[in-house]
Symmetry: C2
């Protein structure tokens, strides 16, 4: 199926007004909306208001929904950024698409190894570098650029649009799921399809549509040996050190030889790996050498495409992220840390359940700690948890997206899954009962959550076109 002439006009407009669209991204990146660090909480509130102003300038009706306070472990509180709900069009003859995006970002410091200031959008070789450029300010702005292009061309948008933009995604979307549930019979009642652009292509050149996500469950393992940090010369030998217990416990989480999860029962609910899945994975446009090079390693856990993708998408994995409370700086400090908190998480796949996995992890670590007969204080805490998700790839929502990509890029999209969790996906599906689609516009090498995060100029501009074409096909299929 082909695009209409009107949609082609919208494409031309987008091509001709790239600089304006990039300036929108520059303004958004400059807002340090880091949701995990409470000192930036004002910026996460500011970024929501910034996008409200933009949406209203394009004719949308907006409301801010307050979510109350976040309670921090140290006993302090801070207000959560409100959720921005927007609506553009209410023609009962049109279908209604609800777009979700997030306006907050991961922490970033130039000292972490960025080549440029993370909160300053800098273009180099067709790449737009900056924290949030691809996760997720760029994709949200591609929707906004799309609306702007329709408006400037005086062409009606072929569907009604609704927006749910939040400011806490990188910090667990506190309060959002409750809010979405509360909108079931009001704001979300007439929504037909849901579209989320907060993931990435599989490779560098062929677009994809994503129909599955892993869940996640995050743990803190806390060991305390003293009420203050101690000098290892003065106290070393007398104290049963917290770090000794912690590294031992962390070392028991995975098999040291192959990295497989060593916690009993955790693999029990993982669905068997089918031949159909194997065939699909074999067909995908994925270059394992390129992937290895991008990571910067000579050897991954697996050498072949099928295993690499299967272990990224449809098998669980465990990552140890770090230790809070231990010495972390450069140099050689001779400290015995008083209290250390090991942090790790497990990515979940169907049919694993976060609460069931958490119970197994907590039991296992308590058993292992008991074996040590350590005098130290010990605690495992389950932090955030989210379930895995799989969509139905043969409905109108997915078909419209496939046609949009075909028309913009001249190729069929790869049908992929993602290793990360976007818990809101599952919430939208469960609350509305409607199809949820993940339509990424960023490339595999964008480096979300990493140093030197970027979005390619071409992906950013073409993203706007894909969204326009997607809405067109939604309206005619």
């Amino acid at each position: 199926m082909e695009l209409s002439e009107q949609i082609r006009q919208v494409f031309s407009y987008a091509d001709q007004h790239q600089e304006e669209h990039i300036n929108r991204l520059r303004e958004a990146v400059a807002i340090r909306s880091v949701s995990q660090q409470k000192e930036f909480r004002n910026e996460t509130i500011r970024v929501v208001n910034h996008f409200k102003t933009i949406l209203e300038s394009l004719g949308a009706t907006c409301q801010l929904r307050e979510l109350g306070n976040e309670d921090f472990p140290d006993g302090t509180k801070a207000p959560l950024p409100p959720v921005l709900l927007g609506q553009l069009g209410s023609d009962t003859n049109k279908r209604t698409v609800c777009v979700y995006g997030h306006l907050d970002v991961q922490p970033a410091l130039k000292e972490d190894g960025w080549n440029t200031e993370p909160f300053e959008l800098i273009e180099k070789d067709g790449k737009l570098f900056g924290r949030g450029s691809t996760d997720d300010k760029g994709p949200v702005l591609a929707w906004i650029n799309m609306i702007d292009s329709f408006k400037k061309c005086s062409i009606p948008i072929p569907v009604n649009l609704k927006f749910v933009f939040e400011g806490m995604e990188e910090a667990g979307s506190i309060g959002l799921h409750q809010l979405i549930k509360s909108l079931k019979s009001t704001f979300l009642k007439d929504v037909d399809y849901i579209c989320i652009s907060d993931s990435y292509w599989l490779g560098l050149s062929r677009p994809c549509i994503t129909y599955g996500l892993r869940g996640n469950v995050y743990f803190y393992v806390e060991v305390e040996c003293a009420k203050k940090d101690l000098h290892s010369g003065v106290y070393g030998g007398a104290v049963h050190e917290a770090m000794t217990d912690l590294v031992y416990l962390l070392s028991k989480l995975t098999d040291e030889k192959n990295g497989r999860i060593a916690i009993p029962g955790v693999m029990d609910q993982v669905r068997p790996f089918t031949n159909e899945e194997r065939t699909l994975l074999e067909s995908l446009d994925f270059d394992e050498c390129e992937y290895r090079e991008e990571i910067g390693t000579d050897k991954l856990r697996f050498g072949d495409k099928v295993n690499i993708l299967a272990h990224r998408w449809r098998f669980p994995c465990l990552s140890i992220h770090g230790i809070e409370g231990a010495f972390f700086g450069p140099g050689s400090k001779t400290v015995i840390p008083q209290k250390v908190i090991g942090k790790f998480s497990i990515r979940l796949v169907p049919d694993q359940d976060p609460d069931d996995i958490a119970a197994k992890v907590i039991k296992y670590l308590n058993d292992e700690f008991a074996k040590l007969h350590s005098p130290n204080k010990f605690k495992v805490i389950k932090m955030k948890g989210s379930r895995p998700w799989l969509g139905d790839t043969n409905d109108t929502n997915y078909n419209a997206a496939k046609l949009a990509i075909k028309n913009v890029y001249g190729t069929e999209p790869d049908m992929t899954r993602e290793g990360g969790s976007i818990p809101v996906t599952l919430t939208f599906q469960e609350v509305t009962g409607k199809s949820v689609l993940l339509l990424p516009i960023g490339s595999a090498d964008d480096g979300a959550h990493s140093q030197n995060e970027k979005i390619n100029r071409k992906n950013y501009i073409d993203g706007c076109k894909v969204f326009a074409a997607y809405l067109y096909f939604i309206s005619i299929l």
Copy 2:
């Protein structure tokens, strides 16, 4: 043996001028002379000049000895603070005592858990809180207060004094050992005794003299899995994570059940624990309950005084200090760190040798890493190393100190060893061939290297008296 009337006059002066002496400490603490962090390098240079001015105002002849640059792992350089050499008196009829001290301090941030600003001296309940108050600006100033008190009373100091004050002790005394060697036949030629006050009493009330120190050897274990930090959702499962290897390797350093060092051969050169040593340890004024309470734990590695002290002083121990490169902040970051550097050190006792121990550690970790068949990059680096030391407790130097303590405190000192390393002790002894004495003035609960470091007002003022009496007995024994 009793003190002379003149020395008693000096004591009275010190008692009556406490506020002046505390103001000297206030000024010194305010200088952020953190030697491990290169951003404070100018302050480590400033503190040396500050003490030069003070010594000169008291009539000493001073010189600054430059040590060149420090090379940092990132390829940058910074000038080392110079060493301050001072001389007061050159009467060939008097004995000459050389005093060593250091003017640099450990890192400190209020956020680390200090109740007050670390670089502001604040008195509460007779305790003078501030970074460097006891380690080692307070003891150095007690020497200076002693000289000032002699001068103000117009009483001649009974010995010639020499000073070696450095600004890099907490960062491995780079260049100092070479400098001391070079002074053997010049500045240090006529030195009879060496006195260092950079350790602590065993308990809270009875003073001690320290005749042994452990050595130390510090290691970095580096594992690298990628050229940048990775999102654990996007990459988790595909990558053989560096943290998995590192926590495994760190967990193999000690026996998880009792904290004993698990590296083959490391205990081979440890001298047998004799009955005499056991008897000495049993006699010491040490309250294991108080010690446990100060640390803030219900149970230590050992329950009895003899084992606690033996494992602090005369057995080696291994401490894992932390990990550089992993996530360390509060919150729940889902990162796979690209490169992690585990940091640990081993405290050494006679007759362990740092180079021999380092060879065993490096071989062991390389063997353990090889067993993992990991694709990651791996490296163990030996950083600083220092040998253990034992002095002869029956010479004039030690006898003068015993009498000084008896006269100031009315009690025999405990004869103790220390678990920490002061490598310069060994260097002074080897270069001069003379007796080195460790004469602490701070209390066991001072918290050197920890949050809320302090020196008691009483210890600070009495320290000045102990030094005066010590010099008197040196001159008459």
